[in-house]
Every structure is written in structure tokens, then in C-alpha cells.
């Protein structure tokens, strides 16, 4: 069936992508000045200590053999141990930040996607009205603001200066079950929702407008169908494809690209973890995190494409 073949092909390409990414990241990390041994020793480094640590960590072997050692471990399911700190297994070190980021992305998606699509459709239907103008202007303004500025404004407004409704720091506490700490997540989720909302809603609006002008929609209206049915049953499924693609891109960005927001809320997510790993030149961590983020990217794009296919009958039955 066309769909399974497409998915299978895309997965194979995805694996190739991951491989290429792992090589590129490895090369890029080698190009940085310093290495994990120097990062561990910091200002206590002497040439002898650096040399000893480098040999203990295997950093004095040729680059290719370091990479091959790493990739062979990964293929047998072992992500290795962190070079620095307590040398804990990489899975242990990145497990919590991964979970934290996953939660944040999931909550943001659950909140932002329905709202963005809904607002986009509404703006399209009420095109050129006052409501549409306000929405369009608002989304442009939001798109222009960097996400950490949005975050700071929200903190000032809702947490520290104007109102004091929400906690300004989203540091999950050890030992406290996750569902009791949802209040801490409100501000980061709100910040990220406002950050992704402009793109998704504008895309939705643009494609909905285009679809609403097409012949079959005019036909449906002439047939006497209720406007709600015309919009939601006939127009939106065809208009949604670009928004789905846009959402996938935004979610992938949320997964690893929100270091500034994580810093602002002291939220221990995978973006900050990656930044820390790079600063410490901790190659096993850097490789593992990048692989995972690349895999997330590939899967999200794949899901977006599958949804697009499913939603469009022409694609689904393989006539296109």
C-alpha cells in the first residue's frame, strides 16, 4: 500500500539522516578548542594532568577510532558514560531533562495547536473584519518578539511585579510528584504557546482563505449546507496540511531549541543540557542528545507528512 511504502522509505532515509548528523556533530565538536579533559580540570590544569586524563578518556586516540568506538556502542544499545562529573551512564544523565522537555512540548502542543488552528480559521472566515485585523496585528507583534522576551514580560506581569498569581521559576522539585507541580509549568507553557501561536495560526489562516475561495466550497454553500459544516467538514481538512507541517517544525524546535526560555525559568530541559554538554566537551552526551533530537525531528516530520496524506483523499489513494 502506498502509505506503508512511503513510511518505510522515510524511516530508512531517517536513519541515514541520523548517521550523517552524528558524523557532522562529532566533527564539529572536535573543531572546538579544548576537550573534556581540559573542561574537567579547568583552571587546575597542568600539562601532565591533562595528558593523563586524555589517555584515561581515550581522547588521544585518532578521531576516526573514537567515532567508530562510539558508533559501535550505540548500535549495540549502549550510549556510553559521561566523560565528566560522576561518569554516570548517559541514559541516566539525560533521562530527566528529556522527560522534562517532553512534558513541556506535549503540554504546549496540547494547548497551542487547537487554539492556533481555531483562531486561524476564525480569522480566515472573518477576513478583513475588525477581529481579523486585530488578530493579524497581534500575531505579527508576537512573532516579532523573541520568546524569552515574551517570557520575561509574562513573569513581570503574572509572577513578580504586577500580579503574583504564578511562580516565576519552573524548577521541578525532587521527590514531589509531577502532577503536583503543574502550577510551575503554567508560565513556561504560556510563553511557548505564545511563541508558536503566530506561525501556526497565520499558516492556518492563509490556507483556509485559499480553500474557502475554491469551487467546491462555493458548491457546498450553494447546496445549502450550514456554514459550520462547510468550514469544518469540507474546508479545514484540506486547509490543514500546511499548518500540520508548520506545527511539526515548531514542535521540533520546542524540543531542543528553547534554551533561552529554559534559562529564564531555570527549567532543566534538554536544550540547556545540550548546551552544558557542549561547554564541557562531553562527547558521549553531545552525541546522544543530538541523535535523539535529530530522531525527534525526523519522526515529527514523518508524522506530519502521514497526517497530510491521510487527510487528503487524493494522496491517500495514491492517485497523485
Amino acid at each position: 500500500m502506498i502509505l506503508t511504502r512511503t513510511i518505510a522509505l522515510r524511516l530508512v532515509l531517517g536513519v541515514v539522516t541520523l548517521f550523517v548528523v552524528s558524523v557532522l556533530i562529532f566533527v564539529a565538536t572536535q573543531a572546538l578548542p579544548g576537550n573534556a579533559a581540559r573542561a574537567i580540570l579547568g583552571n587546575t590544569a597542568t600539562p601532565q594532568k591533562v595528558a593523563e586524563l586524555e589517555s584515561q578518556l581515550g581522547l588521544n586516540r585518532p578521531v576516526e577510532s573514537q567515532y567508530l568506538a562510539w558508533i559501535s556502542h550505540v548500535l549495540s544499545g549502549n550510549l556510553g558514560h559521561s566523560f565528566v562529573g560522576m561518569n554516570q551512564p548517559v541514559t541516566q544523565v539525560i533521562g530527566q531533562p528529556l522527560f522534562n522537555s517532553f512534558v513541556l512540548v506535549l503540554l504546549t502542543a496540547l494547548v497551542s495547536v487547537p487554539i492556533s488552528i481555531g483562531v486561524g480559521v476564525y480569522a480566515a472566515v472573518k477576513r478583513d473584519s475588525l477581529a481579523d485585523r486585530v488578530i493579524t496585528g497581534g500575531t505579527v507583534a508576537l512573532a516579532a518578539l523573541p520568546e524569552f522576551v515574551i517570557g520575561i514580560l509574562l513573569i513581570v506581569l503574572l509572577a513578580t511585579q504586577v500580579f503574583h498569581l504564578l511562580p516565576p521559576v519552573a524548577r521541578p522539585q525532587a521527590g514531589v510528584p509531577f502532577y503536583r507541580q503543574l502550577r510551575e509549568l503554567v508560565l513556561p507553557v504560556l510563553t511557548l504557546t505564545l511563541a508558536v501561536f503566530p506561525y501556526i495560526s497565520r499558516m492556518m489562516r492563509a490556507s483556509t482563505i485559499e480553500i474557502l475561495e475554491s469551487d467546491y466550497v462555493a458548491m457546498a454553500r450553494l447546496k445549502g449546507l450550514r456554514e459550520q459544516v462547510v468550514i469544518w467538514r469540507h474546508a479545514v481538512p484540506n486547509a490543514i496540511a500546511p499548518a500540520v507541517q508548520g506545527t511539526a517544525m515548531q514542535l521540533a524546535w520546542l524540543a531542543g531549541g528553547i534554551v533561552a526560555v529554559e534559562y529564564l525559568f531555570a527549567y532543566p530541559g534538554i536544550g540547556s543540557q545540550l548546551l552544558g554538554a557542549i561547554t564541557e566537551r562531553d562527547i558521549p552526551q553531545i552525541q546522544a542528545i543530538t541523535l535523539i533530537l535529530a530522531a525527534v525531528y525526523v519522526l515529527l516530520n514523518l508524522t506530519a507528512d502521514v497526517i497530510t496524506i491521510l487527510v487528503n483523499p487524493l494522496l491517500r489513494t495514491g492517485l497523485r
Binding site: 579547568g42 560522576m86 530527566q96 554538554a277 561547554t279
Partner: protein, 536 residues
């Protein structure tokens, strides 16, 4: 009297609700605000008691420690490179965690004076070549094993093991790992390679914290007040109390040490109640702490900030140029600008709390005329320099910037060049022509030892080095002090480290936290001895 955040919003909300007529939703909301107001009443009533000068907290109250609770402390810095082992410790989070788990043979008290720790007595023979350490009899490791002389021998031999890359080795220049003997279960004998009068200070440095024989770094075991537990480097650690601890406390059931990259986030966390105490609070945020009715403790510490001049690089090899640069510095202004007033001016000499520190030496102040004349003599009347700087501490870059400005008054052009910390301490470390730095409190000879190993200014003054080794070899305290003071005179006159300040350190905590006192080491929370703290 200042109000807490919740109280403020409750008031305005009430006014607004009354204006438009109260609805059911308002009633429910009002109940919530009222409820939280009642819960916060104890906090409100306690506020204002320790605002004031902030120079002390309330530990001298007769309240006796209450047991229980999880103490959550915040610390700036940290990364995935966090460790607990003091022998490889690098950052403030490492210092705190190390203190929770490990202990050394000697320590420094809150006045930065020597005090016994795991050792009851440390005595030299007449020449200072053979030192005898008598251990406390009542100490057990976290795994139940009693502390014996064998563990001390093992710890020191490990320090000298070339496979174990650590920072402790450099602190024991006279220890011979092959001549450390366990005389009996509680007595260790060190036979030094040369006479050493300063061994007690070396032992008081955290780096010789004692580990049990066969220590496994994956399951750290020490003698300290807390045991190794959950640890996510760069994130937080949660260590439970050691019920069999021989010393003070611990009073709390566990201590959670949380890393923060940013002071503002840490203070926000304290204000929001997700941590109980914050450390290294920047001056700008202290007002916010006081306004919220929280406690703050200011410690005058021995942590010093410096700028070094590499004597191997022209024209810094000329002592007159270095002296001129020292005279250009307006140290008071640098303390105001870079430390926001939270510090005292330095006098180009380290180890402020060493018994030998010459407090009578006149405080160096800015003298532009003398500086200009010195530069003219040296033939560098219109000196132009590049000053490298890096955010190795919060004050490093601002201090260099201020100094560069001050230099203009003497006709000296200083352009600052900022580099990233990882570059600063990267492979060009120890080759920079100049740069900022800091050390936490130390005694004179230990500090000199460290500066010998990490000799940023390539300082090779023969007189100074011979004085240092004479002092080290002198077992008699009074004589040693005299020799050290001669070395101090050289530092003050022609040295290459410009020590422009000693820092103050501010800890802040909620009203629940008791026992916090000022200390002089520069390590927060009672020099890291959080076993002295309790939750009321």
C-alpha cells in the same frame, strides 16, 4: 512594614471585586487568598526583624534546634561536570556537596582559624619532619566501617597515585606516600621529605578529605554529616542525613542542593518558596530579599579578587610598570562598581586571616602622580596595554572595565579583550599576559603553594621563593610568622598579583531556616557545614 507578594494582590483584588459587585467566582477566589494569607501570617509577623543592616541573622536566639525536614539550598554555577569528591572539586556546588559527604583531618572554623576535625591532635617533632596524627575514636563511614589509620594512609597514597588525576597532590609538597605509616588503629605517622611547619594548614584544606580503603567513585562514601544519595550533576542532589555522624547535627533529614545558572532565577525560587536558602546573592537583589521579609546574612570573607601581570611579558617585566599599575587602581571605586559595595579593598596581599598578615601596612590608594612618574622613569609614559578579561566570577569583567577607565587618568590606554571562560582556562591558560582571577580564603603558605603551581604571572623572584621554603621548613610558629612577614613585604612592594578586594558573601533564607551565621571562607551556608542548620 513590608508586605509579601500574595498580600498585595489580595488587597487590589478585593477593591476591584467590591467595585463591580461580588460574584460567586470572586468569593471562591477570595477564600483562597484569605487562606493563603492566614498561612503566611507567621512569615509576615517575622518580617522586619532582620532587615536592617543584614549583618546578622537570629542564630543567637536561644531556640534549640528542631529535627526534621528537607533543607533545600540553592547554589550558583555547576554543570554536568559536578562532582562530590573534594579532591577533584572545582566549583561552588562541588564545595557544598563535598562538605556534606566528606571531611578532612583538620578544618577552619567560622573565624577561619585552625580547628580539629577527624584528627584530635596533629603534632610535629622538633624539626617538623615527622608528624603524628591522632584520630578521633568515634567516627564511622557511611557504610558502617569505622575510621582507622589505614584509611588515612590509603587516602594519601591514592592522592599520589598517578592514575588518579586530582588537585590535592599539589598541596602536599613534602608528603612522601611511601613513608606514611599506621602506627596503631588511630595513629598515623607522616615522615616528610623535608621539614614542614605548615602541615596543619595543608590538612585543613578540603582536598585531603578522608576516604575509606577501596573507595569506589561510583558509590561515594565518606564520614560527613550527609550520605550520598540522588545526584543529577548540573541539576540537583538529594543527600539524606547520616544518623551516626560524630559532630554537630545534622538536624534536617536531608539536604537538597540545587544548581542555578542565574542569580535572578535562584532568588525568584527563594521568593517563590521552592528553595529555602540562596547563596552568593548579588547586591542588586538583596533589597528584594529584605522587602519580601526574608533573612539575609552578610559574611566578610577571605575570598580575594586579583588581576595578575605576567612578568615574562614586556613591559610587565619592569617592576616600575607594575607598581605604577597598582597605583593607578582606585580600589574603593572598583569595590563599589564591581562588587556593588559588598567587599573591602585589598592591599595586594593575600591570606587576610593568616596570623602573619601585616594589618599595619598602610593601605595602598590611588596615586596618579606617582604612577605617572614611575612610568616615565621606566620609559613608558604613554603606556598602551591589552587587558584580557573573562567572566571567571561576577566581578571579574566589571573590575577590569573600571580599571581600564581609571588608567586614562594616568595617560595609560588599556583596551579590554573579553574571552570565554573555557577559552581563558583552555590551552592558553598560564600564557596570558594578564587577566583576572580569584581564590577562596586560604592561609599564606598554602596560597603561595597554589600560586607556585598555577603561576599565572610567571613570578620567579628568588628571595621570595627562598623565604617561602624557609617558612615552610620552620616548625616554630613565631619564627615562621616572622619569615612570612618578610615575604609579605615583597608581595606588597614588587609583587605581580594586584589584589584589589576581599569579597563579602551574602546568603539569604526563609524565616524557617535557623543557624545561619557569617563565615570567613567564602563558601556559603556556614562554610558548607549545613549540618549546623535546622528548620524551625
Amino acid at each position: 512594614m513590608s508586605t509579601t507578594h500574595d498580600d498585595g494582590s489580595g488587597e487590589s483584588f478585593m477593591r476591584e471585586a467590591l467595585n463591580r459587585g461580588i460574584t460567586r467566582r470572586d468569593l471562591l477566589k477570595g477564600a483562597a487568598v484569605l487562606g493563603s494569607g492566614v498561612a503566611l501570617a507567621p512569615l509576615l509577623s517575622a518580617c522586619g526583624t532582620s532587615g536592617g543592616t543584614g549583618a546578622s541573622s537570629s542564630p543567637s536566639t536561644a531556640a534549640s534546634p528542631t529535627k526534621g525536614g528537607n533543607l533545600r539550598i540553592g547554589v550558583i554555577g555547576g554543570s554536568t561536570n559536578d562532582v562530590v569528591d573534594f579532591q577533584v572539586a572545582m566549583t561552588q556546588p562541588d564545595n557544598l556537596r563535598g562538605r556534606q559527604i566528606f571531611e578532612g583531618l583538620m578544618k577552619y572554623d567560622h573565624n577561619y582559624q585552625l580547628a580539629p576535625a577527624l584528627a584530635e591532635e596533629v603534632t610535629p617533632d622538633a624539626t617538623g619532619t615527622v608528624w603524628t596524627v591522632k584520630l578521633r575514636p568515634d567516627v564511622t563511614f557511611h557504610n558502617g566501617k569505622p575510621l582507622t589509620a589505614e584509611d588515612v594512609v590509603w587516602t594519601f597514597q591514592e592522592i599520589f597515585n598517578p592514575k588518579f588525576v586530582n588537585n590535592a597532590k599539589g598541596l602536599f609538597p613534602t608528603v612522601d606516600p611511601k613513608r606514611i605509616k599506621a602506627l596503631d588503629k588511630l595513629t598515623v605517622q607522616f615522615t616528610m621529605t623535608k621539614p614542614n611547619g605548615d602541615f596543619k594548614n595543608e590538612l585543613a584544606m578540603e582536598n585531603s578529605t578522608i576516604k575509606p580503603v577501596g573507595y569506589d567513585k561510583k558509590h561515594p562514601v565518606g564520614t560527613g554529616p550527609f550520605k550520598y544519595g540522588k545526584f543529577l550533576p548540573g541539576n540537583y542532589s538529594l543527600f539524606p542525613a547520616n544518623e551516626n555522624y560524630w559532630g554537630t547535627g545534622p538536624y534536617v533529614d536531608s539536604v537538597q542542593t540545587v544548581d542555578f545558572a542565574d542569580s535572578t532565577a535562584m532568588v525568584n525560587a527563594l521568593l517563590g518558596g521552592s528553595i529555602d536558602a540562596a547563596s552568593d546573592v548579588p547586591a542588586a537583589l538583596v533589597a528584594q530579599i529584605k522587602q519580601a521579609g526574608l533573612k539575609s546574612v552578610v559574611s566578610e570573607t577571605g575570598l580575594f579578587n586579583y588581576i595578575f601581570w605576567n612578568t615574562a611579558v614586556k613591559p610587565l617585566d619592569d617592576v616600575r610598570v607594575r607598581q605604577a599599575l597598582r597605583l593607578i587602581m582606585d580600589r574603593q571605586q572598583m569595590v563599589e562598581e564591581a562588587l556593588s559595595g559588598y567587599g573591602r579593598v585589598g592591599n595586594d596581599m593575600w591570606a587576610f586571616y593568616d596570623p602573619a598578615y601585616p594589618h599595619n601596612t598602610p593601605q595602598r590608594t590611588q596615586d596618579i602622580e606617582q604612577a605617572k612618574s614611575l612610568l616615565k622613569q621606566a620609559g613608558h609614559a604613554d603606556l598602551s596595554l591589552k587587558l584580557y578579561t573573562s567572566p571567571v566570577s561576577a566581578s571579574a569583567v566589571p573590575a577590569c572595565t573600571v580599571f581600564a577607565q581609571q588608567a586614562k587618568q594616568a595617560g595609560v590606554t588599556i583596551t579590554t579583550q573579553q574571552v570565554d571562560v573555557s577559552v581563558y582556562w583552555g590551552n592558553k591558560y598560564l600564557t596570558w599576559p594578564n587577566g583576572p582571577g580569584w581564590y577562596s580564603a586560604k592561609m599564606y603558605l598554602v596560597q603561595s603553594l597554589l600560586c607556585e603551581v598555577w603561576n599565572e604571572p610567571h613570578w620567579h623572584d628568588k628571595n621570595w621563593f627562598s623565604l617561602i621554603s624557609d617558612a615552610m621548613a620552620t616548625a616554630d610558629d613565631a619564627k615562621r610568622t616572622q619569615i612570612i612577614q618578610e615575604a609579605y613585604a615583597i608581595d606588597y612592594g614588587i609583587g605581580a598579583w594586584d589584589i584589589w578586594s576581599y569579597a563579602n558573601e551574602v546568603d539569604a533564607c526563609s524565616q524557617k531556616v535557623q543557624g545561619l551565621v557569617p563565615t570567613r571562607s567564602g563558601i556559603p551556608y556556614n562554610n558548607g557545614y549545613v549540618n549546623e542548620l535546622w528548620l524551625a
